[in-house]
């Protein structure tokens, strides 16, 4: 479903992505990890064209992200994205955050969009918060609303960019639980995260990045058993010792 081949990107002389190739099949959950500054976020932002690249090719559902004629807004509306800092729209209620994009982008009726919002808020256990503004919610609640907002567009795949990094520890699990249930329902997911517990539970594959390059792309058991690269072994030993 998502296919990146030999993608490279430079900021001036600095190479942020170095010949990255990665395929994510329908229904697959791929966790992308690595030290900070290794290009993980940039990599998944290339999947919906939020970041552009100078070399290589990215195909999503057969559509080339970097090609000139591509209708990027339309393609993006079919890929959900969840950000580290939630990025809910602060001037709209929770309900409107979820309903407005459906109305403006998918041309759904207001009633239809609000019904879908209600259904998703129910699922997140947040229906009582519908009329509140994002600033009135906790970080964990905001992130679940952000996931609901993305799901309301009925995306074919979801991209998560460090969805729990900005959360207080006691709120991480409520967000991870939602992501686990999504994974179990067969959602195609690319997740940038350091949550190795999450990776162990639901990931099909783990991708390890360092200095802009994909150093390791392995099935979960293989990765946690015996990572082939020294760099990945070192990284794992650092984050798993606690």
């Amino acid at each position: 479903m998502i296919e990146m081949t030999h993608v490279s990107k430079w900021y001036g002389n600095f190479r942020v992505l170095d010949d990255c190739s990665l395929t994510i099949q329908k229904g697959e959950v791929v966790v992308i990890c690595g030290p900070s500054g290794s290009g993980k976020s940039t990599l998944i932002k290339c999947m919906n064209g939020l970041e552009m690249f100078q070399e290589g090719k990215v195909l999503v559902d057969g559509i080339s992200v970097g090609a000139k004629g591509t209708n990027l807004p339309q393609l993006r509306s079919r890929i959900g994205m969840v950000f580290q800092n939630f990025e809910l729209f602060p001037h709209m209620t929770v309900q409107k955050n979820i309903a407005l994009p459906q109305i403006k982008i998918l041309n759904r009726s207001r009633a239809e969009a609000e019904a879908r919002a209600e259904q998703l808020l129910d699922r997140m256990g947040l229906n009582v918060q519908a009329q509140k503004f994002p600033a009135q919610l906790s970080g964990g609640q905001q992130q679940r609303v952000a996931i609901a907002r993305a799901l309301a567009m009925d995306p074919m795949a979801m991209l998560f960019d460090e969805p729990t990094s900005a959360l207080d520890p006691e709120m991480i699990n409520e967000v991870l639980d939602v992501m686990v249930s999504l994974a179990q329902e067969g959602m195609t997911m690319a997740v940038v995260t350091h949550e190795m517990g999450f990776a162990r539970r639901v990931a099909n594959r783990i991708v390890f990045m360092d200095k802009g390059a994909i150093v390791e792309d392995a099935a979960k058991d293989e990765f946690f058993g015996t990572p082939r690269s020294d760099r990945a072994q070192l990284f794992l030993s650092k984050i798993l010792q606690h």
Binding site: S77, I79, M81, N85, E87, F89, P101, K104, I105
Partner: protein
Amino acid sequence: MGFDFNVLVQHKELLLQGLMVSLQLTLIAIVGGMVLGTCLALMRMSSLSVVSVLAGSYVNFLRSLPLILVIFWFYILTPKIVGHAIDAYSSVLIAFILFEAAYYCEIIRAGISSVKRGQVQAGLAMGFTHLSMMRHVVLPQAFRNMLPVLLTQAIIMFQDTSIVYIVGVRDFLTTADVVANSTNRPIELYTVVAVTFLVICFTASRLVGRLQRRYAL
């Protein structure tokens, strides 16, 4: 020498008319200036360098001129360009809109830059086009952030309308001046003008504070 505030009552209607002209001028110039200013701000932030340089030159040019010069210049120049005389009111109105737009452009540009980059990314990632993302995500937040500055600019604008005196538009101050000369009561008339300006501007700035607290993000 005693004060005679009776002249005010006698010329009440004339003075009120003058005040209305001032308020109307302020309102139209604000709305016109903001619409044009928003367009200029979007142009200045455009990735097309021709467009942004054009808008930038306009803003820098007008901001380097004193308002009184722009009004005077426009008043004298416009008839030469359009080929026939235009009334002083239309002339100052256009001058005000063009002048204010340059200031509003900078205020609006700062407001737009104050919206976090992540909001832009989130809007685009949802599938909004660039324009509808600006319309639904960035501009509503930008306007909330710049509300205090916008309204302060409006208050300054209201005070600046008195400059139209130089081309003889019958605004509040000019009317008061005419009445003062004909009745020989300048102290009473100018005092009333001063108090009216004080009351309106003070009330408006209190209102700004309340709005700011209410709509702050």
